[in-house]
Amino acid sequence: MASNATFVSKSGEGQARFSSKRLKKFFGYLVLWILSFLSLYPLAVMVLNSFKTDTEINGNPSGIPENFTLENYTQIFAVQGGLIGNFMNGIIIALITTVVSVFLAAMAAFAFSKYSFKGRNIIFAFLLSTMMVPHEITIPPLFLIFSKLGWVNTFQGMIVPGLVSVFGLFMLRQYMLGVPNEIFEAARIDGAGHWRLFWSIMVPIANPAIASLSILQFLGTWNSYLWPIIIAPDPSIQPIMAVLPTIRDQQGYAPLWATIMTGCVLATLPVILVFVIFQDKFISGVTVGAVK
């Protein structure tokens, strides 16, 4: 099809080329609009249903709310069964995990990118190769160890396994390799210590990569589900992700969709916020490592 059109146009029939181009354009946009609609539709249903009562959702599962209500949102702050506590648990866990893991990764990445020391390449290659190992193999031993430490149903139980990110180390090292060595040599001659080289020179320069990694790390922890439900079965300490699928009526059978959808909006809000504010960093973070 396409080759014919080009051929025709070359032989001078501009009209045929024009219409085939318009057709391509039309179908291209059609596909993009349909996919955009499909991307957003489930999210639209989520938001719309958060403004309905449970009874209305059953009769009107996707339309505009007829009896618009904010009750689901005030319910978030209820003392009994309010989701705000779980929301805050999730924020605390994700923030601490992000700060510590990015800091550890940045220090190590600095050494791996700007120092030559014995064993550097071997250690780094070994660390990279462990990215192939599914981390789930550590679930049984970590569960055993944490049980013996009394870390079941605690924040540290949920936070500590996320503190090491080999991916983060790899990502930051890639970025730091691109920072010219001369800057550090000059600073050394001016008498800067190693910590200053890292903290006052490398960290500000590598800020874009550090920000991207922080965003990815925050979202990864915020969205995690498996480990929290294993190590913290108590709903009062769980992050919001772990609680959402368990919201049921008094008989414990029917899902309370209005509350669940409102919880989903609440759980998605920080993510969307981060995405809208840091869109460019976000997308550059995603693509590090893939395209090199």
């Binding site: 993009l32 599962p61 462990t130 031993p141 569960f143 995405f275």
Partner: protein, 313 residues
């Protein structure tokens, strides 16, 4: 050799020699500094990954209930898992989820990237974030929304179609709903990756081919796709690894009230979790290591296939 050393470097090297005492101290600190920088990371890595991994490997040869003595059972844990029919059901499910979603996902994302980058489409700034958004929505939230969309009695899909299909109770149909969720969530991610990959191709190559009369399809097949082979390899390997470790999608979509999904639709990781909950730590660890071997195998096969197709060319 001597001529190669520039005078600047020589003075630069000569400079610190003036204070020889300071130098010795500094040199000692210099040698230690990188180790100090990596040691926190390495310590955590040893404590949270290497240690537990070894512990897990050892555990997989023992019967251990979490208290009392562990009994050495050799490869009995592995044997009993391989003889357990649920293992095979869940393995087949996992491979089904992987194979059925990966082809439409990758082809779709690639064509979408080609489309958005093509000259006659405007509005990249709108389409890029919109198509990417499903990816950042938490898997739990996405799975719950899909659960409500595909409800039998009150679900939107059945309302729209005017049907009463048991989307989430009939295992055969349910598996395709899981695949739909995987594609919905994954498309934006690979779309962005492929888009960046396309942008990294030297535009002169494509222009030269266009001048020589190559069609859009010829340019894709003979220029773009071969140049992006490494990105495809990366995409397929990462997607395979993540598919084998899949847990949240099927369990939240199908599981009732936070319970695990039924074995007919469950992924392999469920066997690890159910063993863990049954306090069979040896068996749970063995499942983990089987998962590792599968990951390794699939990755190696993919490297083989994509590398050898390279050599043929």
């Amino acid at each position: 050799m001597k001529e190669n050393i520039s005078p600047v470097l020589e003075t630069g090297k000569a400079l610190p020699k003036v204070k020889s005492k300071v130098i010795r101290n500094v040199a000692w600190v210099d040698r230690l500094a990188p180790y100090l920088f990596i040691s926190p990371f390495i310590l955590f890595f040893l404590a949270l990954f290497i240690g537990p991994s070894i512990y897990s490997l050892v555990l997989s040869f023992f019967r251990y209930k979490g208290y009392g003595d562990a009994t050495f059972v050799g490869i009995a844990n592995y044997v009993s898992i391989l003889q357990y029919h649920v293992f095979w059901t869940e393995l087949v499910n996992t491979i089904f989820y992987w194979l059925v979603h990966v082809i439409p996902l990758m082809v779709g994302a690639f064509l979408l990237a080609v489309l958005v980058r093509s000259k006659f489409i405007k509005g990249q700034r709108f389409f890029k974030p919109v198509l990417f958004v499903p990816n950042i929505v938490a898997t739990v939230a996405a799975a719950l929304v899909f659960q409500s969309l595909f409800g039998t009695q009150y679900g939107v899909i059945n309302k729209l179609l005017g049907t009463q299909i048991d989307w989430l109770h009939d295992p055969t149909i349910t598996k395709f709903v899981v695949v739909l969720l995987l594609i919905w969530k994954g498309l934006g991610w690979w779309f962005i990756i492929f888009l960046v990959g396309l942008t990294s191709i030297n535009p002169e190559l494509e222009e030269a081919a266009t001048v020589d009369g190559a069609s859009v399809r010829q340019r894709l097949v003979y220029i773009v796709i071969p140049l992006m082979r490494n990105i495809f390899l990366f995409a397929f390997v990462i997607d395979a690894i993540n598919s084998l470790r899949m847990f949240t999608e099927p369990n939240v979509l199908v599981g009732r009230s936070g319970q695990l999904a039924d074995p007919e639709v469950a992924p392999l990781l469920n066997l690890l979790i159910s063993n863990l909950r049954g306090a069979s730590f040896g068996q749970a660890s063995a499942v983990g290591w089987i998962l590792f071997v599968l990951t390794l195998g699939i990755t190696l096969i993919q490297f083989r296939i994509l590398r050898s197709s390279d050599e043929e060319r």
